[in-house]
C-alpha cells in the first residue's frame, strides 16, 4: 500500500499545485490591474492623459517614466537598474505595486526596491545607495522600503534591480523631462488582444494628433502573468510525471497481487472445489484491491496536500509571487480519488482473472520446489550458461530471472528512475554546452550600453586612456520592425568580437551595405526572413530595404538581426551607442578597475554609460533560468527512484516469501544465515545493475528527445546535446546502493527464519 500511496501522493501533489499555481499566479497578477498596453512616448502630461481618456474604450491611462541606470550599495560594484517614476503612489490604478515593508510612498531622496531585487542590489532597507542614471549625476539615495511588483520578471533571474522613486527624486538625479510612458487600460474585453490592439491604435492616433512621438507600443498577453505560460508548461509536465509515477506504482500492485494469487492458488482451488464460481472468487480479490485503493487515497491525500503546499511555496518564491489561498478545488479531490481507487482495481484485473482461472486439479496439486517449473523454456536453458563456477553467485544471478514478468515490471520502475536521473544530468550538461557555445561566439568580456549615440572618436579617446583593454568595438543597438519589433545590432563587418554560427547563407562581409543576417528566432517568427529575400523594415519612421544574406543560430535568444555598422551612418554618422570590450585580464578585480577607469574617461569625453554587464553576469541570468528545469528533473528522478526502490523491495519480499522453502533447504545443506542474506542481496543488486544497463542504453536517445522538447517548449530554442558520463557512474552507484538497501530487509527476514519454519512452508 505504501507504494500506491506514494504514487497517489505524488499525483495529488502535482495536480493540486497545478490547480493552485495557475489560479493564484493569474489572480495575483490580475489583482494589480495590469496595463492592457504600454505606450512609450516623448512626453506624457495631464493634457495628453485627458485627451486619451476621452475615448470611451479607454478606462484608464496612467503616466509613468521608466529609465535605466546603475545602482551601487557601499563598495560593491555597479548593478544595472531600471527605475520607475510613479506620479502618485497614493493613487496607482494601473499595474499596482504592493508595499511590503518600510516606507510607503518614497519621499524625496528615497528609493523603494522590488522585494526580489534586494539580493541583486546587495542592499537592505535603510542602506544608502548611489544611483546613476543615463543623463543625470551620481546621487545618494536611501532605500526606504520594499515593494512587490508582480508584473516584472524575476530580478534574480534577470540580474537587474527594479527601483521606484517619485518625480522630485528624479529631478534630484538631474534627469530632465517628466513622464514618457502611458499605461493604458481598456474599458471592455480586457482579455481580447485584438480589441486591445484596435483601441491602442486609436490612442496612438490621438497621441500623434497632439504632436507627440510614439516610440514603442507593447501589448502583453492579456490577463496572463509574464511567466504564466512557462509555469503552466512546467506544471503540466509535472502533472504528467505525477501520473507516470502513479502508473509505476500500479505496476507494484500488479506484482503484489500476482504473487498473492500464486500464494493463494490452493485456497482458490478449495473454494472452487466446494462450489465457488470464478466470478465469486474474483470479487473477493477485487474488493481487497478496492479497499487497498480507498486506504491509499485516505493516506495519500493529506500527504499530497502537504507536498503541494511545499511545491507551491517553492514555485511562488522562484517566480516572485504570493499565494493568497492554498484551497484545492473539489475537482482535484474527485480526480485523485477516482484515479487512486481505479488504479489498483485496474492493476488487479490481470492477476485476479489469471489466478482465479486456474483449474481445480492444478490448484490443489501445487506443492514442492518443482512448482516453479524453471527449466521448461529455452531462455531458462540459456540461463544455465551464464554465471560461473561459484554456485552462490550463479544462484543469485539466475534467481533474478525466475519471475520474468515481475522482473520486467520491477526493471521498468527502476529503469525509469535511472533514466530520469541521467536525463536530468544530460539536459543540464546540454544546457551548459548550449550556453557555452552561445557565449563562445561572444568574444567580448564586457559590454557597455551608452545613454545616447555618441561620436566614436570621443569613445576611442577614452578607451585609449584606459589600461587593460585588449580590443574594443563600437556597436549600434536599436530596433526595427517587420510584423513585430525586433532588436538590431549594427556592428563592424570585420568584427572580431562576435563569431556568429551561420546555419544558412553567409555572415556579414566587408563591403556589405544593406545586408542583414537574422538569427533563428527571428527567421522562425518572420517567414519573410529567408536567405536571398529582400525585406523592407521600418526604422525611425522610414522604410529601409535589406537583403537577407544569412541565418545565424543563437540559442535562448530573442529575435535579433545583424547589419553592417556602416548602414547606420546615414542616420547617425560616426556614432555608436554601445561598446564591446575584450580585456587583458578577466578576473573580477580587473574588470571592476576597467569599468571604473573607463567610466571616468568616458565622462571626461562627455559620454555617459547607461549600464554594463560582464560575460559572467549575462551567463548568470541564463543559468538561473536553466536551474528551474534541472531542479524539476532531479526531483522527478528522486520520486521515481523512490517508487523504483519500493518496487524492488516488494519484488524481493515476494521472491523471498515464495522461496522460503528453498532458503530452508539451503540452510539444511549448511548455508549460514549470512550466506542466505548475501544471496538475496546479490539478487537485488543484479536487478539494480540490470536496470542501470537498460537506463544507460536508453539515456542517450531519450535525454536528447525530451531535453530538446522541454527546451523548445519553454524557451523556443534547440539544445546542443551532450552526454554526461558522470550520470552513468553516479547512477550505477545509486542503483547498487538502492538495490542493496531495498533487498536488505527481505534478506534479513529470510536469514532470520528458522530452518524448520522455512522447510514447513508450502
Amino acid at each position: 500500500m505504501l507504494a500506491i500511496a506514494l504514487g497517489i501522493s505524488a499525483f495529488a501533489a502535482v495536480l493540486s499545485s497545478y490547480a493552485i499555481l495557475t489560479r493564484e499566479l493569474d489572480l495575483g497578477y490580475l489583482a494589480t490591474n495590469p496595463a492592457s498596453a504600454v505606450i512609450r512616448v516623448d512626453s506624457a502630461d495631464d493634457d495628453l492623459v485627458k485627451a486619451i481618456l476621452q475615448n470611451p474604450e479607454v478606462s484608464d491611462a496612467e503616466p509613468r517614466r521608466t529609465i535605466s541606470g546603475q545602482i551601487k550599495a557601499g563598495p560593491a560594484q555597479w548593478r544595472n537598474l531600471i527605475l520607475f517614476v510613479v506620479n502618485d503612489y497614493g493613487n496607482i490604478r494601473v499595474s499596482r505595486l504592493v508595499p511590503e515593508s518600510g516606507a510607503w510612498p518614497p519621499a524625496i531622496g528615497e528609493i523603494l526596491i522590488e522585494r526580489d531585487a534586494f539580493q541583486v542590489a546587495k542592499a537592505k532597507i535603510g542602506d544608502a545607495v548611489t544611483v546613476k542614471t543615463a543623463n543625470g549625476v551620481e546621487q545618494p539615495l536611501v532605500v526606504s522600503g520594499s515593494v512587490h511588483d508582480v508584473g516584472q520578471a524575476q530580478a534574480r533571474m534577470e540580474n537587474i534591480v527594479y527601483g521606484y522613486i517619485n518625480l522630485e527624486t528624479l529631478v534630484q538625479l538631474e534627469e530632465h523631462g517628466g513622464f514618457n510612458e502611458l499605461n493604458i487600460l481598456v474599458a471592455q474585453n480586457r482579455f481580447d488582444e485584438d480589441h486591445i490592439k484596435r483601441v491602442v491604435a486609436d490612442v496612438e492616433k490621438v497621441i500623434k494628433s497632439r504632436g507627440h512621438d510614439v516610440y514603442r507600443i507593447s501589448v502583453p498577453q492579456p490577463g496572463k502573468h509574464p511567466h504564466s505560460d512557462l509555469t503552466g508548461v512546467l506544471l503540466l509536465a509535472m502533472s504528467s510525471f505525477g501520473l507516470f509515477v502513479l502508473v509505476l506504482s500500479s505496476i507494484l500492485v500488479i506484482n503484489l497481487l500476482t504473487a498473492m494469487m500464486v500464494s493463494q492458488v490452493r485456497q482458490i482451488g478449495v473454494m472452487k472445489a466446494i462450489g465457488g464460481t470464478r466470478r465469486q472468487i474474483a470479487s473477493i480479490y477485487f474488493v481487497q484491491a478496492l479497499f487497498l485503493g480507498i486506504a491509499a487515497v485516505i493516506v495519500s491525500v493529506p500527504l499530497g496536500i502537504v507536498g503541494s503546499r511545499a511545491l507551491c511555496r517553492y514555485m511562488a518564491y522562484f517566480l516572485n509571487f504570493d499565494i493568497n489561498s492554498f484551497a484545492v478545488p473539489l475537482w482535484v479531490y474527485a480526480l485523485v480519488a477516482l484515479v487512486g481507487i481505479a488504479a489498483p482495481l485496474i492493476a488487479a484485473a490481470f492477476p485476479v482473472l489469471r489466478g482465479t482461472g486456474v483449474p481445480v486439479r492444478v490448484a490443489l496439486s501445487n506443492f514442492g520446489l518443482s512448482q516453479t517449473s524453471f527449466g521448461a523454456s529455452a531462455f531458462d536453458r540459456a540461463l544455465t550458461r551464464i554465471g560461473g563456477t561459484f554456485s552462490l553467485i550463479v544462484l543469485a544471478l539466475r534467481n533474478s530471472f525466475r519471475r520474468r514478468v515481475r522482473l520486467a515490471l520491477t526493471l521498468l520502475t527502476l529503469t525509469a528512475g535511472g533514466l530520469f536521473f541521467m536525463l536530468a544530468l544530460n539536459v543540464r550538461a546540454s544546457m551548459i554546452n548550449t550556453l557555452d557555445h552561445m557565449f563562445t561566439a561572444r568574444k567580448f568580456d564586457l559590454s557597455i550600453s551608452l545613454a545616447n549615440p555618441y561620436e566614436l572618436k570621443k569613445i576611442e579617446r577614452a578607451i585609449n586612456n584606459t589600461p587593460g583593454i585588449k580590443r574594443a568595438e563600437g556597436w549600434f543597438t536599436t530596433e526595427m520592425s517587420l510584423s513585430d519589433r525586433f532588436n538590431v545590432v549594427a556592428l563592424p563587418t570585420d568584427t572580431q568580437l562576435l563569431d556568429l554560427e551561420i546555419i544558412e547563407g553567409r555572415n556579414l562581409a566587408p563591403g556589405d551595405i544593406d545586408a542583414i543576417v537574422v538569427n533563428n528566432a527571428l527567421a522562425g517568427h518572420e517567414p519573410k526572413m529567408r536567405v536571398g529575400e529582400t525585406v523592407v523594415l521600418r526604422f525611425m519612421g522610414t522604410e529601409t530595404t535589406w537583403h537577407v544574406v544569412g541565418i545565424a543560430r543563437e540559442a535562448f535568444s530573442p529575435s535579433v538581426a545583424y547589419v553592417p555598422l556602416s548602414a547606420m551612418q546615414q542616420f547617425y554618422p560616426g556614432m555608436v551607442n554601445s561598446l564591446r570590450l575584450s580585456l587583458v585580464n578577466t578576473d573580477d578585480d580587473a574588470i571592476r578597475d576597467v569599468r571604473t577607469e573607463l567610466d571616468r574617461n568616458l565622462e571626461q569625453q562627455g559620454v555617459r554609460a547607461r549600464g554594463s554587464s560582464t560575460k559572467e553576469e549575462s551567463r548568470f541570468s541564463f543559468d538561473q533560468h536553466m536551474l528551474m528545469i534541472y531542479v524539476f528533473l532531479i526531483v522527478m528522478s528522486a520520486i521515481i527512484g523512490g517508487v523504483g526502490g519500493l518496487g524492488l523491495m516488494t519484488t524481493m519480499s515476494l521472491n523471498v516469501f515464495e522461496r522460503r522453502r528453498e532458503m530452508g533447504v539451503m540452510r539444511a545443506l549448511g548455508a549460514t544465515p549470512r550466506i542466505v542474506w548475501l544471496i538475496v542481496v546479490v539478487e537485488g543488486v543484479v536487478i539494480g545493475l540490470l536496470s542501470w544497463a537498460i537506463a544507460a542504453l536508453l539515456a542517450w536517445p531519450i535525454s536528447k528527445a525530451i531535453g530538446n522538447l522541454l527546451v523548445r517548449v519553454l524557451f523556443r530554442s534547440g539544445l546542443d546535446f551532450t552526454f554526461e558520463p558522470l550520470g552513468l557512474l553516479i547512477w550505477i552507484l545509486v542503483s547498487m546502493g538502492l538495490s542493496a538497501l531495498a533487498s536488505f530487509l527481505p534478506a534479513w527476514r529470510a536469514s532470520r527464519a528458522t530452518v524448520r519454519e522455512a522447510l514447513a512452508y508450502e
Binding site: L392, N399, G670
Partner: protein, 222 residues
Amino acid sequence: MISLNHVSKTYETPAGKFAALKSIDLSIEAGQFVGIVGKSGSGKSTLLNMVAGIDRPSSGSVAVAGTEIHGLSENKLALWRGRNVGFVFQFFQLLPTLTVAENVMLPMDFARSLPFRERRKRAVALLERVAVGAHADKLPATLSGGEQQRVAIARALANEPPLVLADEPTGNLDSITATAILDLFRALANQGTTVVIATHEADIARVIDRRIEISDGALVNQ
C-alpha cells in the same frame, strides 16, 4: 554416533500446546542403517529434525558425532550441518535454477570443503556413483522423480558426511524407483555412513539394520 537424552518438543499452536516429542531417549551407532517408522504426525520428521539440528528441543539434549548440537548458534549449527549431515527430502528439493551438478556443488560451496576447481569434479563423480552422471548439466525440471532423488542423494554426500538423514525419501516415487533408492542407501551404510530414514512405509525391513517405531511423539519399539 547419535545420542538423544530426554528430548521433548512442544509447539505452540492456535489450538493450544502440541507435544510432538515426549522425552525421547535414543542412541544410534555409527554405520547403522536405521529406519524410523510411524504414521503421519507421529513425530518422526520432528525427531529427524532434532538430529539434523534443524529444530531445537524444548528440553533434553542432542549429541551427534560428539557434538552437543542443541547448544550451537544458528551460524555454527549451519557450518556443522554442512560438514556432518547429508539431508535428503521427500520432494527432492533441488534448487530449480541450478543445474544438477551445481546443486551437488552447493553444499561444498557452503562448507568450502574442497578447493574451488575440484568441486565440479567431485560433483560429477558423485552423480556417476548414483547413476545420473549423464545429466550433470541439465536443470532438475528435466529429470524424472527417481533421477531427481538420486541427485538429492549425491548432494547429501557432497561433503562426505558421516551421517545421512532422509525424510520420506521414497514417498514420492514409484515402487521400482523406491527400491533402487533404498538400495543406494544400503550401499552407503555398507561403506560406513550412518543412515537414518524417516518413513511411514513398513516394507523397508529388508534393507535396514534397525527399526525404530514412533507413535504420538514417543518411541514404542526400538
